[in-house]
Subunit: 533 residues, 2 copies
Amino acid sequence: MTERRLKHWGWGYEDQAPTATQLREAAEGIRARFGFGGEVEKPVPLAEVELRKARLKAPSGLGGLFSDAHYERVSHSLGSAYRDVVRGFYGKFENPPDLVAFPGDESEIEAVLSWAEAEGAAVIPFGGGTSVCGGVEPRLGERPSVSLDLRRLDRVLEVDAESLAARIQAGATGPGLEDQLREHGLTLRHFPQSFEYATLGGWIATRAGGHFATLETHIDDLVESVRAITPRGTWESRRLPGSGAGPSPDRLLIGSEGILGVIAESWVRVRPRLGFKASASVAFDDFGVAAGAVRALAQSGLHPANCRLLDASEAELTGAGAGSANLLILGFESAHHPVDAAIDTALEIARDHGGNPGEVRTAGDGDDAVGQWRGAFLLAPYLRDTFVACGVLSETFETAITWDRFEEFHATVMETARRAVAEASGVAADGPGAPRVSCRFTHVYPDGVAPYFTVLAPAVRGGEVEQWDEVKAAASEALIGAGGTITHHHAVGRDHRPWYDRQRPAPFAAALRAAKAELDPSGMLNPGVLIDL
Amino acid sequence: MTERRLKHWGWGYEDQAPTATQLREAAEGIRARFGFGGEVEKPVPLAEVELRKARLKAPSGLGGLFSDAHYERVSHSLGSAYRDVVRGFYGKFENPPDLVAFPGDESEIEAVLSWAEAEGAAVIPFGGGTSVCGGVEPRLGERPSVSLDLRRLDRVLEVDAESLAARIQAGATGPGLEDQLREHGLTLRHFPQSFEYATLGGWIATRAGGHFATLETHIDDLVESVRAITPRGTWESRRLPGSGAGPSPDRLLIGSEGILGVIAESWVRVRPRLGFKASASVAFDDFGVAAGAVRALAQSGLHPANCRLLDASEAELTGAGAGSANLLILGFESAHHPVDAAIDTALEIARDHGGNPGEVRTAGDGDDAVGQWRGAFLLAPYLRDTFVACGVLSETFETAITWDRFEEFHATVMETARRAVAEASGVAADGPGAPRVSCRFTHVYPDGVAPYFTVLAPAVRGGEVEQWDEVKAAASEALIGAGGTITHHHAVGRDHRPWYDRQRPAPFAAALRAAKAELDPSGMLNPGVLIDL
């Protein structure tokens, strides 16, 4: 549908793939740095990917909305988890949708739903395909499926500059909606790692975590109202700044991962573009001490926009630190007033809690630790494709926990993941060439923290999926067993189901199932994520 | 159950009723001030209240949990709306519960539910009885009912000082839980007008609005996890600072008004007791100009704890102003750092937007405008009992709306309410002795505001309920017609149903109904609020 096509596997556009020389150099660099990784292998080209024959035929009346083109079916088969990227690399697209639909308006969404319901087909709403938990993969056995790609609904439809809100279609990507808001001097400032490709509708459906380390940590907080198309009518909430009229309708749709309806558009809270910012990094010798400083900051009421603690390994990995120090990236910002006093107070807290602050920067992104980290953050998904080609397992998982349990929780999860990845990789857990597990904080709260873990290991080539699934299962058991959440902002999808099923209150699961059965009696909408009917 | 008994009608304890002399003087004062109001009448004494015979008999095995005492049945018949107070005054308790249950733990809640389900009886969870929308009244026709009073579950069970959280039973009142938290140097700082009598469980069930004018405006934001007893098992969410694992289970319980389960306890976010505060009042000649200043403050990111704008009439009513100026009550607070700079920046905004700031006070509540207003705020419900005795209609209603629509919305609602109350009262809408309608802002947001309206008028004695219902219907039509919410923090109950039914998305209503049918198939839990099965 677009001129510049996304890669059929992995991250980014087709023209962004590294050259053979770049990959060879990367493989050498990786081996030198980590002591593991192999020779460069090549992905299975699109033309050589073998797909199951489509089991649905587009209806003649709606033909223009559907595609059964090879590229479209392939590129709507998987999300963007490591287990997706590596399968895509090897050309294993075992669960392709039978058709891909590209509705241009709500009536076309309704038409696709009606037709699919009559056909007994499943419909999987698809935004940027950046799910890292199997949220968009048609893992449906014999049931035929349609991937419903919202990309044509990509407009900012209305801007209310007085209330600082905008009505935006669900298929608008991060850069797409920011470009349109920029004309009004406004911004959403929702910058998850998926920013370049993911969509507003996808963020709402998955409760995406965003830019802000405190206060508005999730897209939930930026949603003023939502409009969704369900098989039983349109679900539209009123635009309200706040309400106490019954349980929040929006909060039932937010995080519903497509099972209740197709999010078509939303009024979201936007803000003027930044006038003031200040950032600094703070070094800590000890991670536990650093966590204590972050707790004090999170409980101070200063509300830093950025408050991301990288452990020493993570800091070294992202090039933000030398590898010996734990690094706290601290940032304040305001469209309205200077934030110098706020960052000074915050740095005082950090100093009082054993930190060693660097210089305060107000100019934006330089080549300092803060800028290094931000650059690495957005590059990480591209780099992962390179890791896959070079025989390196590279994946992340994340959670949240209250402060009182954090120290033991962190130790348990780290140790579990370290052991599991060594075992699954058939290597020693320590010493040169050992797998690496590192941790950073993505979001912080007065009552707790969202730790985010990165795993790097020598890939078991050809067995990467099983290798990672073993690690993931062990880590997930540790998270759930120790009282955490199976996900702070990566959603549930299909991959997190076994642990999500243990986490959620049973009566809530029953209520959600009943709600779905009412709105989607044929169970056509994204079956298998969150619940089973 | 307690030594000091609540009045069987109206607000407060039996020993707090004004004397005959005080009432006579009040009536004179009211007539002089407002130009309306009549002679003092006396409420029907408890002993003279005639109740329908109880249709349920407590089971022998659970007998100790139940009471059919006259006082208990009377005092669990009504909430605290004007239409409740006035009915109580006249001794009209038309819908008493047949029994009142006082469970002491969760197993006793379960026992009451099981027994009631077998009996075909309805169960209405009851906290402080401060509902102002018919949320606790057994308006159930032929169906017998039990009022489930949670007062015995009044303990702070656990304090996690590291995460700043506390596990508190649902029946703890504002003062009750604050007393227990004070021992730990902590506070919930949730101070709705119902603070003295309402309970944590009631606040959660009704999405109560609290102390903070910005950020944590509702109890929703203070809830870390909830534990509720449903007819189909215990609904308990994990303690998590944040999560993205599916739609929030807590957000479906918060605001469910007892229809899904009985909230038994909750982990809530608490905070250290205050170290720093600063407040000031700002006078504005024009209400629209003042609203513009509040919008700028709400969008500044300064997050004032208090940002309540009283129009000139409301300011005069509460004794905070002389009656000619609109008054903004602005306050900042922090347990951690001084707030002088924040209030200075805020007052600069107010000045830039046409305001005339008074002196900044940091000492707490003096006899200034800020303190005057706060005193009046907590006294208002007591005063209403006096108004009823003196033949004055006194009631409030509230809503929320985005800023872009505020000006026209405010004008429409004010004018509608003014006309409706004059007509329903049989008096002129203007001139001496005319009814008064005034407005204040209780909570403000970057994208909008929660306006709160107060109505005072000569009561149509003996016809007060019909009189107010006429005004309420007209005002509600205006709110809903102009895009507002039927309630920002007073909940839905039974009184708001006709307008709530038009406000909520139809598929959400269907989903909620299905969820309830799943968890409460006999429809025993608080039937008639929010939805019908």
